[in-house]
């Protein structure tokens, strides 16, 4: 668990470190706009339009390739949406038994098609959002959202929650190592030990969060902290990216209507 947490923390740090790929070099606002456009196009597709939804998967695949992103990370996060979408559409096959096709002697009902559509839409939606975060970084994403008009208080709040989450992970890591260093036997910790560890962890993370809050306050000049990263300038490539993506997404959506 220690190794996994350490890996997760390092990966979080890597997200925030400037990378060099065509997708990373784009302005965050352009990527936010295209992601929103894609989500609108994808979610406006009817659930039974499987061909259209599958076609829409070309966009996250292109993003993964252009951004040289870790496919496993995207997939892992995307699969996290599965329990939710399955829970939402679990009764579709039972409630909607209208046959729509027959494949190798098996009758496919409309309920099964819509369930598959729901799952695919969930996976694709999460994928593009993960790609947006991986190629922009949480800090820059929040700052660019602020530049798009999201109130400064909301931006500061999201950033503080993100920072608290990282603190919590760091505390878990330290605590886990301290426990492992003094354990004689391998295997899972007894529940009563876990309960105490979690208590200590929460107290520790609140204490750390308080210190970070004071560090912010000390350098924030007395007002709401402004998280301004070195300003990225909107370039022609950003305009081209938005226009090109908008055309492609609209075409994919249009092609679906023809299918």
């Amino acid at each position: 668990m220690g190794d996994k947490l350490l890996g997760a923390l390092r990966r979080l740090s890597l997200i925030e470190t400037p990378q060099h790929s065509p997708l990373h070099s784009l302005d965050g606002r352009a990527k936010i706009a295209v992601t929103l456009l894609y989500l609108v196009a994808l979610l406006s597709l009817p659930l039974d339009s499987l061909a259209g939804i599958i076609l829409m998967s070309l966009v996250p695949i292109a993003g993964w390739a252009v951004g040289r992103l870790r496919g496993r990370t995207i997939l892992r996060w995307a699969l996290l949406s599965l329990p939710f979408t399955v829970a939402v559409g679990a009764f579709n096959p039972l409630l909607d038994r209208e046959p729509v096709a027959e494949v190798a002697g098996v009758t496919l009902t409309h309920g099964w098609i819509t369930l598959c559509g729901l799952i695919l839409r969930g996976v694709l939606s999460v994928s593009v959002v993960v790609e947006l975060v991986l190629s922009t970084g949480v800090y820059r994403l929040c700052v660019d959202a602020g530049r798009l008009g999201v109130p400064a208080v909301v931006v500061a709040l999201v950033l503080m929650v993100y920072r608290y989450m990282r603190l919590l992970m760091g505390e878990v890591l330290t605590l886990r190592m301290a426990v492992d260093a003094r354990r004689q036997r391998r295997g899972a910790l007894p529940m009563r030990v876990w309960a105490r560890v979690v208590g200590v962890l929460l107290i520790g993370s609140v204490r750390r969060a308080r210190w970070v809050g004071m560090a912010l306050e000390a350098r924030a000049g007395g007002g709401v902290p402004r998280f301004r990263l070195p300003a990225t300038k909107w370039r022609t490539t950003d305009t081209l990216f938005v226009v090109f993506s908008a055309v492609v997404i609209t075409l994919l959506r249009f092609v679906d209507c023809c299918l």
Partner: protein, 235 residues
Amino acid sequence: MSHHFLNFSQVSYSYPDGMSAVRQLSLHITHGERVALLGANGAGKTTLLLLAAGLLRPTSGSISLGGVPITQHTMHLVRQNVGIVFQNPDNQLFMPTVRDDVAFGPVNMGLSDEEVARRVECALRRVASLHLADRSPDTLSAGQKHAVAIATTLATSPNILLMDEPSAGLDPRARRRLIELVRCFDHTCIIATHDMEMARELCPRAIVMCEGSALCDAPTDAVLSDSALLDRAGL
């Protein structure tokens, strides 16, 4: 505010759990003074620094900066004039990269992009960490984090610098660099430390704290040669 002196008048502070950390403390630190805060763990050194930075409010008594009482309404003056370096640099660094972290203070002072960039470079150069600018603070060593934490404060050009155990965990070269850095800082500097040698080298004046009170306020050499006093203070 032409002179950045700090004045503590009968200041007490108790934490919400009732623990009394500072008791009836009165101090006057004049502009340009370098003062060492000495004392055993739990003597109230860190609380005193947090009070001076306006991050904690006294339970009773008052603190003034350059003659202006520190209140909610004058907090912007404190922020402009007082910089604090925490003991644990992990608590101080919260931005994605070193450059962004050092830029945070100047950005919040409303400076132009050019001025922010200049200050960031200057502060990082002073702590010999310019090469770390694009690294994430999470990936730095303890000594590097300490140096960057100091740079985050230097970038705001404070008139009063408060440092909590700045030499803890530093290797000899980094410690030497820190001493040179503080020596070049020509404004008021208050250093809470257990590093007696550093205190002797940097601070002509020392305040020995014990259980939240100032046990002694005298020249550092005199303090450090009084073994009975040091023993009483748990040093």
